[in-house]
């Protein structure tokens, strides 16, 4: 994957016929552009893995949209030398990157699809440059993960500390180039051994800071300001974003639609891809995209 990446980036850069700055952004965020259409869908992964999360979702839109997937800096095959502790000590740092990704790749109206923490990153980008994003799809979003007064986020501070400890003892093959010799998986025979665990491979220090920034964030006050049409995809059984959070958001946001998806877990785009796709399709049709 790593060996192919530069070639792909060079190809995209040539395709876009752009200058050095855009090449930097493409490399920094390991951007992939596929499909074509009058509007652009940008898919942003959440905390934990990388853009491979969209493999069952994004390709379905390639026939109608220009489709952009990318890795947040610090995740996946992004340029780790671009990781700046101060910049990425706040979600706004990632939101600023999103705006650069849009400038480098988007054509026509932009539909931003953000999973988990990237839903809030997309909102911050939107609020910074109103009008840049035409529609938002938020999958399993949460404006605040920690319970505060009457607000139910689902977690206590101690839970986040417990997560940080878990991250500290799980390298997922980070420190070695050789992936562990995993048992073959009959369900996914096409995956090569080198890719094992790599989707979730993150520098443990970066993973810890990203976890802290994600789970300590509180963007509830911003919700009311987001005028962009927004679809909230809420799973029926999601530890990370409980139903109460989706309901809170749809009440707080002026232009949001809440759609429930029958699913256990935090990644309906992986475990319930067709239901997720059709919910997004319905939303986009309603907006005449």
């Amino acid at each position: 994957m790593d060996e192919r990446a530069p070639t792909m980036i060079q190809r995209v850069a040539r395709l876009l016929g752009t200058g050095r700055n855009i090449v930097d952004v493409l490399k920094r965020n390991n951007i992939r552009v596929t499909g074509d259409g009058p509007a652009t869908m940008v898919f942003a992964h959440g905390f934990g893995c990388d853009q491979h999360m969209w493999r069952l979702m994004a390709p379905a839109f390639e026939s109608r949209f220009r489709v952009v997937t990318f890795d947040l800096v610090g995740s996946g095959a992004s340029d780790l030398s671009a990781y700046d502790k101060d910049k990425y000590g706040k979600l706004q740092g990632y939101a600023d990157d999103v705006l650069e990704v849009l400038d480098a790749t988007a054509k026509g109206p932009v539909i931003f699809v953000g999973h988990s923490v990237s839903a809030m990153i997309g909102m911050l980008a939107d609020l910074k440059t109103p009008g840049r994003i035409a529609a938002q799809v938020m999958i399993g979003p949460s404006p605040c993960y920690i319970n505060q007064g009457d607000y139910v986020g689902g977690f206590e501070r101690a839970d986040i500390e417990s997560l940080l400890e878990t991250l500290e003892s799980n390298y997922l093959g980070w420190s070695s180039t050789m992936a562990p010799a995993i048992m073959g998986s009959p369900a996914q025979p096409e995956l090569s051994v080198e890719l094992t665990n790599s989707f979730c491979r993150t520098d443990p220090e970066i993973a810890k800071q990203f976890a802290r920034v994600t789970f300590m964030s509180d963007n509830r006050a911003d919700l009311a300001r987001l005028m962009t049409p927004t679809l909230i995809l809420q799973c029926t059984d999601d530890l990370i974003a409980p139903q109460a959070v989706g309901e809170y958001m749809s009440r707080a946001m002026p232009n949001a639609t809440l759609r429930m998806i029958e699913n256990t877990g935090h990644c309906p785009h992986l475990s319930a891809p067709s239901a997720s796709r059709s919910a997004v399709d319905e939303f986009l049709n309603g907006l005449t995209y």
Binding site: C49, I182, L191
Partner: protein, 395 residues
């Protein structure tokens, strides 16, 4: 679940009592099958778990978040996870660190997860030790870096202050040199005018006043001369001595007769040893003698004589000045010849600015000689300046 009978298939026994926990779960985590080893570790029976609990429900909260954000996507994308370390929660609330492998398998018409788990208490403890050690090392490194930075900042500040102090000292020395030099002209006018006044007819009162004027002007001139010599020395020019053949005893005798006139109340003896022509700078030697004798008069007991010895030997000549009285304190001896050092004298009696002995030493050094001092109550205080290159004609 009953223990399989001895007749049970060996593979079944291996599954149940395997040296690791073995589970089969639905893709959403619901436990479909669990072996006896796992049940014994966690304190729940198979009946408590199968169909009733999900694998993630048995984890700590940190483990459950990790399961959702890492494990589940990995299972969906690559169909397996390996060497993941998550803590189980025992029925009694204890935490059990465990290492997990899992894979996605097609069982007839449904997908399931097969899971193997090992308790890893010792490995966990070891990892905790390593993490603690790393944190300690990182803290020490941070402290070390902070200390280095503080040290560097202090060095920069010290250098800055030192440069500032040097600038100020240099400026002060320059200023003293300039002021001293410029004061000589008005002083010589005062001196000359006093002498002119002294030649006119004056009454007794006027004469005394003119003499006081003359003495004060001469003293001020001497002080300025000292300061100029000092600042020239410090400014690197050194004391310029014009060496020439001299008659040592004669020079000393002349200088002492001047003293006897100026200070008639004190007795000054002159001992002369040896004969011959010496090499030296007469004006500087007289200055040296003047400073030493002035000190002996100022600090010595007023009822005892000052003894000056000029001695000429084979390869050296010396000037020795001795007085009795309170000896110099031992702790003052090492810095006695440094500038701005002055002994205890009555207020208003100071005839120098603390440069006298400094200049004495500079003169001796300029001649290539050595300076010694000894001070005891019995022998008194003795300053000895010894110079090389005497040309003895005696003996």
């Amino acid at each position: 679940m009953d223990r399989p009978s001895a007749a049970a298939h060996p593979a079944e026994v291996l599954y149940e009592d395997a040296p690791c926990g073995l589970l089969v779960t639905a893709t959403n985590g619901t436990i479909q099958r669990v072996n006896r080893t796992f049940c014994s570790w966690i304190g729940w029976s198979s009946d408590d778990l199968v169909g009733k609990r999900r694998l993630q429900d048995l984890l700590t909260m940190g483990g459950r978040i990790f399961h959702q954000t890492h494990w589940a996507p990995l299972m969906a994308i690559q169909g397996s996870v390996s060497e993941v370390k998550l803590e189980l929660t025992h029925r009694d609330g204890r935490k059990l660190p465990a290492v997990w492998n899992a894979r996605l398998v097609q069982h007839e018409d449904q997908q399931v997860h097969e899971v193997a788990v090992f308790i890893a208490e010792d490995r966990h403890r070891y990892e905790q030790e390593l993490l603690r050690a790393r944190r300690t090392a990182e803290e020490l490194l941070a402290q070390e870096q902070a200390a280095q930075q503080a040290l560097h900042a202090a060095q920069v500040e010290r250098d800055r202050l030192q440069a500032l102090a040097e600038d100020r000292a240099h400026f002060a020395e320059q200023m003293v040199a300039i002021v001293s030099h410029d004061l000589r002209n008005p002083l010589s006018v005062i001196d000359m005018s006093a002498q002119l006044l002294g030649r006119t007819s004056l009454d007794a009162m006027q004469l005394m006043a003119v003499e006081r004027l003359d003495r004060s002007a001469k003293r001020a001139t001497r002080l300025i001369s000292d300061i100029l010599d000092f600042s020239r020395g410090r400014l690197g020019a050194g004391l310029k001595s014009k060496v020439q053949p001299i008659h040592l005893h004669q020079i000393v005798a002349e200088a002492l007769s001047d003293f006897r006139v100026a200070v008639p109340s004190r007795t000054i003896h002159h001992c002369q040893i040896g004969e011959g022509v010496c090499i030296g700078a007469p004006d500087r030697l007289m200055q040296l003698l003047g400073n030493l004798v002035s000190n002996a008069i100022a600090y010595g007991a007023s009822d005892s004589p000052v003894v000056v010895t000029s001695a000429i030997a084979e390869a050296a000549f010396s000037i020795m000045v001795q007085n009795h009285g309170e000896p110099i304190l031992a702790e003052q001896l090492p810095t006695l010849f440094d500038a701005m050092t002055r002994g205890e004298v009555a207020a208003g009696e100071a005839t120098s600015v603390g440069l006298g002995l400094f200049i004495v030493r500079e003169i001796v050094l300029a001649h290539g000689g050595t300076m010694n001092v000894s001070s005891t109550r019995e022998a008194g205080t003795i300053f000895t300046a010894t110079f090389p290159s005497a040309h003895s004609s005696s003996g």
